[in-house]
C-alpha cells in the first residue's frame, strides 16, 4: 500500500555527533564518574538580580511593555490591519539605544531562517548514501507537505510594516532582520524612563490546516452560507517587543517554529473590529459589552457568574442560525487586560458560547469567569466537558501554586490542536459527524478533550504567570505543566489515560538517540518525550519518591510564588527546590536534566554472613550442623537404600576414641585459647560480643550495580521466611563514592530470615529492566508472552457502545414437535 507521491530527491547522509560541553574539572585517571558533583559549577553565578537561593535578587528588574492596539479583521481577504501604540518602560539599570521586536509572522516568509533551514531529513540521517537501490533511492513527500508548500507559494505572508513612528509621529529608522526588527530610538532611553512608538502593520492570516502556525483561520465550506464560514484564531498577531532581561539582555533568538515565546508583562487595551455577526473571545475583560451583546446575552452572562453549571450566552441553535447570517457591517469589541505577557483572540459567527463563574474563596480575585467558545463541530463533547475542565484546572493548579489572578479562563475550539495564551487557550478535539446528521464522540476523544483543556488552561500558571523563557527552556513550562496536568487529570478520574507515569519514558530513556532536557528548544530532537514527559516524570518521582509530598509541595509552591509575574531561569528552579526542601538535589537535577543516562539498577547478589564467635563451644557446633546439613552424596545414599551395610556397621565392637568424638569435638586446648583471647577483650568489646551472640541476627550483604548510569534511591522490598515483608529505601547518596557498583549490609532479626528481595517493585523510578531487580531472579514474561498467556477478557473489553445499538428483538422460537 503506497500512498505517497514520489519525488526523486538526492539522498544525503548526515550524522549527528553529540558533544557535551567540556568541564573544567576532569577525572583524568581511573574510572570514576562523580554523579554528585556540585550543580553550582554548572549554574550561573548568583548576583543581585537572581540570588543563590533561587529567588529574585534585591536588584531584580524586568521591563514592562504596554500596548494599545486597534485592529480590523477583514474576513473576505482573511487579513489583519492594525495600528499599535507601544509604551516601553525601561526598568533596567541600563540605557537602551534601540528596541528589538519579534515579528513571528515573518517566520512563514519563504526566505526566513526557519523555512530555509528546515531540513528534509531527520537528525539520524536515515537514508544513507549506500541506499541507492530500488525504492531506497526515492524519498517521499506527503500531500500535506505539498499543501503547505502551495499555500506558502500562493500567499504573500509575513508582516507588512507600513510605518514605525515616534510619539510625535516622526518616522523612526527600523531594520527588519528575518523574523526580528530593530527600531532605533531618536534619543537613548535612560533607565527608569519610558518611551512611546507607533507601528502600523498588516498581514495575511495563515490557513492553520495548511501551514500549522498555532493560529490562523479554518474554513467550513459546508456551512449553510454562501462561501461558508471561518473560525479565526489570532495569536502572534502584532509586532511584540522582544524581551530584555538581566541574563540575556535582548533575547535575539529568532522564532524558528519549535521554541515558543519569551515575552514581557504589560497592560493591553485592544479594540477589534470584526464582522457584526461575529462573536469574539479574547484575553482580558470586555469593556463595551452593552454595545456588542444583546440585552438577553448580557442577562445570561450575568446569571452565569453564580451558576453551578455552564450557562449558554449563545446557544447551539442560535449559533446554528448565525452560521447562515448575511448581516453586513462591523462591530468593534474592546478588551482590556492587565499585567499579562501576551494577548490572543478568536472570532467567528459559528461560536456557541457558554460560561460559568468560578468562585475563589478567600482570594483577592474572588471571581473568575470560565468560558468556552466552540462551533457545532465541537458540539456536546464541548458542552459537557470544556468549561468543567477549565474550572477543575483552576481548582487544582491554584492549590499547588497561587490563586488564579485573572478575571477569565477561556477554552476555544478551532483548528489548533492545543495552544495557550493568557486567559485564553485553543483546543482541537471534536465530535464525529454521521450521515443522519447526528454527532458522537469516542471515549478516547473525550479523554483527550479533558486532558488538552487541562493542559492548555494550566499553561496560564506556567509560563503565562510564572514567566519562564519558552524559547530556550521548553521544559520549564511544558514539563512543569505536564507534571501538574498529570495531577489534575488523576484528580478528575484516575482512569483518565493522561497521567505522566514513569513507564511512559522507559523506551525513550533507554534509546541511544536523545539529548539532555537542558537543550535549547529548537535543538531538541524529540520535543514530546524530552520537554514534556521526561521532566514531568522526573518531577513526579521527585515528589512521590525522593522528597515526599510535604517537602516537594512546599518547595514547589515556594518556586511558583517567588516567580509569579516574574521571569525565572532553570537555575532559579533548581536552587529554589533545593533551598526550600532542604534536600541536596544536585545529583537528581544533574542526572535527569543534564545527562541522557537512564535508570537501571540491578540487584546482582545477596549473601548471608554469620557472626563467628571464636568460642569453640559455639562455633564447632555450628560447623557440625553445617556439615550435617550438606546433602548426602548419591553414592552413599543409594548404598543405604539398597540395604548395604558398611564395614563400621558390620563391626560394632571395633571402635576407638575417634568414633566417640567427631572432627568437631571441642578440646580443652581450644577452650583455653578462646578464654585467654576473650579475657584480653576490653569490657565494651565483651559486651558487644555477648549481645550479638545472644541476638543472633541475620547479616545480609546486597550487591547492586548501576547499569543505566542515572543514580537513584534503591527502593527495596524484602520478603522473609515467615511471610512478612519490609520496605526499605536506600538513599541515592549510597552511590556517592561508587557510582557503578555498591554493597549494602542489611541486618534483620533472628526470625526474619530473608527469602527474596526486589528493587522498585511498583515501578516508581523508571527502571528500564525489571528482570534484574529480583533476587533470586524471576522470569518476567515479556509483553508478548504475557499477552499470549492472558486472554484479554472481561467487562472492560466489551464493546458496549456498539452492542447497545442493536435493537431489542423477540427471540425467534422454533416450533418444537415431537
Amino acid at each position: 500500500m503506497r500512498v505517497y507521491l514520489y519525488l526523486l530527491i538526492l539522498a544525503l547522509s548526515s550524522s549527528a555527533i553529540f558533544t557535551s560541553s567540556a568541564s573544567e574539572i576532569v577525572q583524568s585517571k581511573g574510572r570514576f564518574d562523580d554523579k554528585f558533583r556540585q550543580l553550582e559549577e554548572s549554574l550561573p553565578t548568583p548576583n543581585d538580580y537572581r540570588n543563590a537561593a533561587g529567588e529574585p535578587g534585591k536588584e531584580y528588574w524586568q521591563q514592562q511593555v504596554d500596548y494599545k492596539i486597534n485592529v480590523t479583521l477583514d474576513e473576505q481577504k482573511r487579513a489583519i490591519q492594525g495600528e499599535q501604540v507601544i509604551t516601553y518602560h525601561n526598568n533596567s539599570p541600563y540605557t537602551l539605544k534601540y528596541l528589538w521586536f519579534q515579528l513571528e509572522q515573518n517566520r512563514f516568509k519563504p526566505d526566513s531562517i526557519a523555512e530555509r533551514s528546515s531540513a528534509f531529513y531527520g537528525v539520524d540521517g536515515s537514508v544513507r548514501a549506500e541506499n541507492t537501490y530500488g525504492d531506497s533511492a526515492f524519498a517521499k513527500i506527503s500531500l500535506q507537505d505539498l499543501r503547505r508548500q502551495q499555500f506558502l507559494a500562493d500567499n504573500n505572508l509575513g508582516y507588512q510594516i507600513a510605518a514605525v513612528t515616534g510619539a510625535n509621529k516622526k518616522p523612526l529608522k527600523y531594520t527588519i532582520v528575518g523574523a526580528q526588527m530593530r527600531v532605533d530610538l531618536p534619543t537613548p532611553l535612560n533607565s527608569k524612563q519610558s518611551t512611546q512608538l507607533r507601528i502600523n502593520y498588516g498581514y495575511n492570516i495563515l490557513e492553520e490546516d495548511a501551514v500549522g502556525a498555532r493560529s490562523g483561520y479554518e474554513h467550513f465550506p459546508d456551512d449553510n452560507r454562501e462561501g461558508g464560514n471561518d473560525i479565526f484564531l489570532l495569536a502572534q498577531w502584532f509586532p511584540r517587543v522582544a524581551s530584555y532581561s538581566d541574563y540575556e539582555a535582548w533575547h535575539n533568538k529568532e522564532f524558528l517554529g519549535s521554541g515558543e515565546f519569551t515575552l514581557e508583562f504589560g497592560n493591553y487595551d485592544v479594540s477589534m473590529t470584526v464582522p457584526s455577526d461575529h462573536i469574539v473571545a479574547a484575553t482580558g475583560v470586555l469593556q463595551n459589552s452593552k454595545s456588542v451583546l444583546s440585552s438577553e446575552q448580557l442577562k445570561r452572562l450575568d446569571s452565569a457568574k453564580k451558576a453551578d453549571k455552564p450557562v449558554f450566552i449563545v446557544s447551539k441553535d442560535e449559533a446554528l442560525a448565525n452560521e447562515s447570517s448575511t448581516a453586513k457591517g462591523t462591530k468593534t469589541w474592546h478588551f482590556k487586560a492587565e499585567n499579562v505577557r501576551d494577548f490572543a483572540w478568536a472570532s467567528s459567527r459559528k461560536f456557541i458560547w457558554d460560561a460559568q463563574g468560578y468562585q475563589q474563596k478567600n482570594s483577592q480575585n474572588p471571581h473568575v469567569m470560565a468560558m468556552s467558545f466552540y462551533p457545532k463541530e465541537g458540539g456536546e463533547l464541548w458542552q459537557q466537558y470544556s468549561t468543567a475542565a477549565v474550572i477543575h484546572t483552576l481548582e487544582v493548579y491554584s492549590r499547588f501554586t497561587f490563586d488564579y489572578p485573572y478575571p477569565a479562563a477561556i477554552s476555544v475550539n478551532g483548528p489548533v490542536g492545543g495552544m495557550e495564551y493568557p486567559m485564553i487557550s485553543f483546543n482541537g478535539p471534536r465530535t464525529i459527524w454521521h450521515e443522519d446528521g447526528s454527532r458522537t464522540y469516542t471515549l478516547a476523544e473525550k479523554q483527550f478533550l479533558i486532558g488538552v483543556v487541562i493542559h492548555e488552561v494550566g499553561h496560564n500558571y506556567f509560563p503565562m504567570i510564572v514567566n519562564s523563557d519558552e524559547r530556550q527552556w521548553t521544559w520549564m513550562d511544558e514539563g512543569i505543566n505536564s507534571f501538574l496536568d498529570g495531577i489534575a487529570t488523576r484528580e478528575w478520574d484516575p482512569n483518565l489515560s493522561w497521567g505522566r507515569e514513569p513507564t511512559d519514558v522507559i523506551e525513550y530513556m533507554k534509546s541511544n538517540v536523545q539529548v539532555p532536557i537542558m537543550t535549547q528548544s529548537d535543538s531538541v530532537l524529540q520535543l514530546g518525550p524530552n520537554a514534556y514527559i521526561k521532566p514531568a516524570v522526573a518531577l513526579n518521582i521527585l515528589r512521590e519518591v525522593i522528597l515526599g509530598r510535604e517537602l516537594f509541595d512546599f518547595a514547589f509552591q515556594e518556586y511558583s510564588r517567588r516567580w509569579m509575574n516574574k521571569r525565572p531561569t532553570p537555575s532559579d528552579f533548581f536552587r529554589t527546590m533545593e533551598e526550600a526542601s532542604g534536600v541536596d538535589l544536585d545529583w537528581f537535577f544533574r542526572g535527569w536534566f543534564y545527562t541522557t543516562d537512564h535508570v537501571d539498577i540491578s540487584l546482582d547478589r545477596i549473601y548471608k554472613l554469620r557472626l563467628d564467635s571464636n568460642n569453640p563451644d559455639i562455633d564447632f557446633d555450628r560447623r557440625r550442623q553445617d556439615y550435617n546439613d550438606k546433602p548426602m552424596p548419591y553414592s552413599v545414599e543409594r548404598n543405604q537404600q539398597s540395604g548395604q551395610k558398611t564395614w563400621v556397621e558390620l563391626n560394632p565392637g571395633n571402635t576407638d576414641y575417634h568414633d566417640q568424638h567427631d572432627q568437631f569435638s571441642v578440646t580443652n586446648k581450644d577452650r583455653n585459647k578462646y578464654n585467654k583471647k576473650h579475657a584480653e577483650l576490653d569490657p565494651w568489646e565483651q559486651q558487644v560480643l555477648a549481645r550479638a551472640l545472644k541476638e543472633d541476627k541475620n547479616y545480609y550483604v546486597f550487591n547492586f550495580s548501576n547499569l543505566g548510569g542515572l543514580v537513584m534511591p534503591i527502593l527495596l522490598e524484602l520478603t522473609f521466611e515467615n511471610g512478612d515483608t519490609e520496605s526499605l529505601v536506600l538513599p541515592a547518596e549510597i552511590w556517592r563514592r561508587s557510582p557503578f557498583e555498591v554493597s549494602k549490609l542489611i541486618v534483620t532479626d533472628k526470625d526474619n530470615v530473608l527469602v527474596s528481595a526486589v528493587v522498585d517493585r511498583r515501578g516508581e523510578t523508571a527502571d528500564v529492566d525489571i528482570e534484574n531487580n529480583y533476587y533470586p531472579r524471576q522470569i518476567i514474561p515479556s509483553r508478548i508472552e504475557a499477552f499470549k498467556e492472558e486472554e484479554r477478557k472481561g467487562n472492560k473489553y466489551r464493546d458496549i457502545m456498539h452492542d447497545n445499538k442493536e435493537a431489542l428483538k423477540d427471540p425467534e422460537i422454533k416450533v418444537k414437535k415431537k
Binding site: 500512498v3 507537505d145 471515549l443 489515560s497 523506551e507 515479556s782 499470549k788 457502545m801
Partner: protein
C-alpha cells in the same frame, strides 16, 4: 490507487491534524524489537498513542472507528499498522513477521508481532511508514534491544529502508 489518493485527500481536509508538537497529537510511536532468548523469538512491540491511532483509524478505516469500545476497529488498526512495518535481514530478504495481537493499555494501543530468532541477526533493514502517510510529522522511534544493549532509529517520512546494527550477541 485512485481510491487511496481519494482517502488521502479527505485526510488532509480534516482539521484536527494540522496541530504542531504542542498540539498534543503526539505524532510519535515507539517500537521495541527485542531478542527474547528465553522463548527464542524476536518480539516486536509497537506502541501507539491511542488518540493518534484512533484519528488514523477514522481516516484509513472508518470515520466511526472507536478503538476503546470496538475490538474490530482495533484489529483493523493493528492490520494497518503491520502493513506499514517491514523488516529485512542483512541480505535484504524480507523477514516474515507473525501477527500476535493487539491490546489497549491506558493511553496506549499496542500491536504485537514476532518471528523466530535465527543466526546472523546482526542487523536489520527497517521500514515503518505507519501514520506518516496521514501526518508528515509522525516519527516512528525504533529500539532494537539484545542483551540490554539498545540501538535506536527514528524514522521520518523522508526515510526509506533504514539499516540498524544489532548489538553483538556476546556483549
Amino acid at each position: 490507487m485512485r481510491q487511496l489518493v481519494l482517502i488521502l485527500l479527505s485526510v488532509i481536509g480534516l482539521s484536527l491534524l494540522a496541530g504542531q508538537a504542542h498540539g498534543h497529537q503526539q505524532k510519535e510511536a515507539y517500537t521495541s524489537i527485542v531478542f527474547n532468548q528465553r522463548s527464542g523469538m524476536l518480539e516486536i512491540q509497537h506502541r501507539f498513542y491511542l488518540h493518534d491511532a484512533e484519528h488514523a483509524a477514522q481516516q484509513v478505516i472508518d470515520s466511526n472507528a472507536d478503538l476503546i469500545s470496538d475490538p474490530v476497529s482495533r484489529e483493523a488498526f493493528a492490520y494497518y499498522a503491520i502493513s506499514t512495518f517491514s523488516m529485512q535481514d542483512q541480505q535484504q530478504h524480507p523477514l516474515t513477521l507473525t501477527y500476535v495481537g493487539t491490546e489497549l493499555q491506558g493511553k496506549y494501543l499496542w500491536v504485537y508481532q514476532e518471528t523466530p530468532i535465527t543466526t546472523n541477526m546482526e542487523g536489520f533493514y527497517l521500514k515503518m511508514t505507519t501514520l506518516q502517510e496521514l501526518w508528515s510529522e509522525q516519527t516512528n522511534h525504533i529500539n532494537v534491544e539484545r542483551n540490554k544493549h539498545v540501538t535506536s532509529a527514528r524514522l521520518h517520512i523522508a526515510d526509506s529502508w533504514h539499516y540498524i546494527e544489532v548489538a553483538k550477541a556476546s556483549e
